[in-house]
Symmetry: C3
């Protein structure tokens, strides 16, 4: 009997199937320190217990994207080991902060299936939930991937394409319990710009860049226990190790501090595309477009919807060409909601 995990193929998925992903993970100050070593992360709420406490939280949470990576990493052996492409994200929500000492695990449900017309691949939609040791859902998101069939003759499942929101409504966002920005310290946070200072349509060039190295993206990707071969094994992919898309997300988000230091907490992920692959030696830069703004019920807390674009060269604010395709320098196009002091 074969002992290693061959991964699931398209015909191995069925609608409503629940995948309990393996290897729960306890996070600590170690993961936080590594996150700050791997990315130029500076958002004060995640850097300082004292700052977080002044905002009504019990301590600095683990970075929202670190929580996402931990939850995501667990799904790789069950969802994307035989994936041909990572097609999209939707309805991502952070429902509760993750604290040092918490143990996270992930569960996914298959919510959509569609065999491609070539008969060789199909699209699988899953809704993934990350749970802590108290079985509380700390985050959830939908993701769809193109997966190979093992047996081209396997019958096609009934096509079910889930009806996913293209954008979360402000009312869908969950504000962490106790969050209060009325006494927010803009000086310690690093920038004076408050929610009211940003206008819909405004664009920000985050200016800074990081030329990425092989050792760094592998450290990061392993830390999230994402073990997809393409990120690690040059004999498997002699043309170059592909950098985990989440590494680009975290790098771009951290770079966006310069101009968005007060976009403290990520609470919603409306969508995202890994437009082009990233390799060691690329210099990642980022720019942002303000897409929307909304008020929230929490004291002093506004929500801001941002398009975060990571590039590996080229001019800022160029997203797509005349053909409607992403420019070759664009690595990431991410649409998210963050919380900001009013």
């Amino acid at each position: 009997m074969m002992k290693t995990n061959p991964g699931r193929f398209f015909e191995d998925y069925s609608l409503g199937q629940v995948l309990e992903h393996a290897v729960p993970r306890t996070v600590s100050g170690g993961e936080r320190a590594l996150y700050h070593a791997l990315y130029p992360a500076r958002h004060a709420l995640y850097s300082s217990d004292a700052f977080a406490q002044a905002c009504g939280l019990k301590a600095a949470p683990i970075d929202d994207l670190a929580a996402f990576h931990v939850v995501f990493g667990k799904t790789v052996p069950d969802v994307s080991l035989n994936a041909v492409a990572n097609l999209g994200y939707a309805e991502g929500r952070w429902l509760a902060p993750v604290w040092p000492g918490d143990t996270l695990r992930s569960v996914s449900e298959v919510i959509g299936l569609k065999q491609n017309s070539n008969g060789k691949t199909g699209v699988v939609w899953v809704r993934t939930r990350g749970l802590n040791q108290h079985d509380a859902v700390v985050m959830e998101y939908c993701r769809w991937v193109m997966v190979r069939k093992k047996d081209a003759d396997a019958p096609a499942p009934e096509t079910v394409v889930p009806d996913l929101k293209t954008v979360l409504a402000p009312g869908d966002l969950v504000i962490p319990e106790g969050l209060d920005f009325t006494g927010y310290d803009f000086t310690l946070a690093g920038e004076p710009h408050r929610w009211g200072d940003y206008e819909i349509g405004e664009t920000i060039d985050h200016v800074d860049g990081v030329t990425v190295e092989e050792a760094e993206h592998m450290l990061a990707t392993r830390l999230w226990q994402n073990t997809a071969k393409v990120h690690f094994d040059l004999t498997f992919r002699p043309e170059g190790r592909l950098i985990y898309g989440g590494h680009v997300i975290s790098m771009a988000r951290a770079l966006s501090f310069n101009g968005l230091a007060n976009a403290q907490m990520i609470v919603g992920l409306n969508g995202g595309a890994h437009a082009n692959p990233c390799f060691a030696g690329d210099t990642v830069k980022a720019w942002t477009e303000v897409l929307d703004k909304a008020e929230t019920a929490a004291p002093g807390v506004g929500a801001i919807r941002l398009r975060l674009v990571a590039t590996k060269g080229g001019e800022p604010f160029v997203l797509k060409g005349d053909d409607g395709r992403y420019s070759p320098e664009v690595l990431l196009d991410l649409d998210y909601w963050a919380l900001m002091p009013l």
Copy 2:
């Protein structure tokens, strides 16, 4: 007076000599996070406090091999600074888990000496013990190294070759207090294969590989406070920095998760050989052969004896050539006992 440590030469050792190694080390969640960033480690018992507690432990211990590296690293300035070759290991046992917050130190006793016929080098056998802050021995192992003489005219010591077990008997293994696999969660652990599913003689190709980078092995080796020059200084070794053998052990063990996810705890090290040197750029892969199986007194816990082989290319399951020598692609040949749910 010379202030730097020249290391010990062969004539500096005497039978029964006790070496109290320097620089005790407190380990924390930081070491655990780094271990997971440096190696694709996924064994659930070391990743999740909740999983470890469900197995009867108070929390997730520090990885067994991390404990080994910390204990081993302290011996380098006293044992292997002038070593020509690391010849072997035997009678390695993990006697108690290491928890975050524990402080480890190492003590070695010289248990064997044999001058080589060339008169220029000799073999030194030591038994090393790692102790925690309560002076409890957490692990022990024997190791023998070939060491240079400083003065070729120094008299040869009486030859004493210790009688070391080539294999630990199942009764020699110490099962951590409280360990109970009767309620073991195979889904969270990542694979369904239990102790009864493995057959003696069975071989497993662990499939995954990691192309190693300079920055990674140096981070790891420093973390264990192993400061042997050959691993760090290109002016000392212009032909390439040699990767610490323990880095290969941890990499191979982590890769073996894929097929041996339930070989949770390492409790015995029967022997090991660093067959060929490893350098940055090599892609490390691993395969395993099941050598033996045994029952234990702990509830639901079986012991399995495994040969773990790390390679840098070539086909799996090839260990030695017709001449009885290790194939040039073989990096490591390790013989250990692990604990697995029945």
Copy 3:
């Protein structure tokens, strides 16, 4: 309104101005583990809680230089983003240990200004203090940098050059409360050499070397939240990423363990020069000259003043050429006070 931080130019500083630097940072065992992975750090007081407790402290503090880097990193966006050169340090004192769990922030005061005769740049002197969550000052130092003017026509400020001590007197040094070296364990510390064994004028070649890698210095520099472009962005500096000077300081200090294992705590920074830039691929080595010695009021504790020199080649003990300039192989010339057992 521009949202990103353009940094301050020479005309933006005024005498007596107080800069409250952003992004407070909570440190934990994670930062400690990373410090030990990034540098071959082995001083026992910072490695072992048990050793530190035997010396009268409540636990192993965060490494003194890690505390310095955290405090320093916060000043970069306000002090040195438009700096042309880092000119010097003086009057650096460590006033209280930093413990895991502490939150640090930094405040600087402008204590000197002098426009250069070219009218395009000026020198700014600041005194920076690092404070913990109890508003206690944990360290302070003066630093002066050459900064560009944005507008060459901006009027020159009145020239004020602060009167800084070239060397701290022994009485200026603050000994951590409770520190007691009367029961110091030289075996666990790693070397037998006590304060009385070092002579003024003595030089020590620390022998070991580390060939540095891009990934390592970027991990380190990010960990301290120092985001100066020159360290990260190859498109900004195609001739090579400049390694953060503090990386060289920590590397040299860690290498100096071999010969100075008992120079446990750094309590004073008299001065320092980054003599030449360091790049990935350079092999950093270090040597020390004993400059002075002094007794202290703490039991068993002596102070020793050391010149620590980091090099990237060349012979040890060569500092300057006949022209009085630093030799091209010298990276760092640091003058500090450390505490050592009598």
